[in-house]
Amino acid sequence: MITLFKDEKIILIQRKYWLPFVLEAIPLVLIAILPFILFIFIEALPLPQDIKNIFLNYSNYYFFFSFNFVFIVWMFLGILWTNYYLDILIITNKRIIDIEQIGLFSRDEAEIRFEKIEDIRIEIVGFLPSLLKFGNIHIQSAAEKREFVLKDFQNPYKIKDIIATQKEKVFEENKT
């Protein structure tokens, strides 16, 4: 997948934090089970009795279409999960590689060498990210692409420390 340079070693491989994915997936799951909940409570719904009778008399069709709907939602969940799962951060002893899967047909692979890093900033915004310790890491670079953003990673301070330590090592190596 990633071709490493000569003498290049992987220090860290990290996926994004799972919570943003779960928060996106919950509405989909709720939508998928909605037809079944509606059917359970059909008698209690304020609908004319004729319409209720149609639902009850053609329940086999209702369940057939409901399960087809569940199947479509399941496929969307698969796509959503793939988008989450294939987003990877790789830190080697020479560079940082950020891979982002954007939908099924778009993929962004960005990398920055430690020599180009000027500044690292952590951004943790909101109640849940503060509580569960996940957030974004902004890396200012001297390269053409000025800012490099690593989104939704757990323990961003730990990642920042790894980057800072490695940057220092590369700096020392280049000096000698």
């Binding site: 053609y58 086999n60 057939f64 399960f67 087809n68 199947f71 698969g78 899967q101």
Partner: protein
């Protein structure tokens, strides 16, 4: 209610769903194989995705046969 129309719609929906599933599964399978780092995890992902898909498809098929 005309059951013939409903049956035609049901058949159409089932076939479209099946075709979409085959296409999407092929694309997802390609992505997992091409871009995933861990081979053992890819195997687990495929196992979970295709097992649940097969179960749902089987239920749909049973319901479809029950319509006729």
């Amino acid at each position: 209610m005309d059951l013939n129309i409903l049956n035609t719609i049901a058949t159409f929906v089932f076939l479209i769903n099946l075709i979409v599933f085959i296409i999407f599964s092929w694309i997802l399978n390609y992505h997992w194989g091409r871009y995933e780092i861990s081979i053992s995890r890819t195997f687990s992902i495929r196992k979970i995705y295709f097992t649940i898909s097969t179960i749902i498809l089987f239920i749909i098929l049973l319901l479809f046969l029950n319509l006729k």
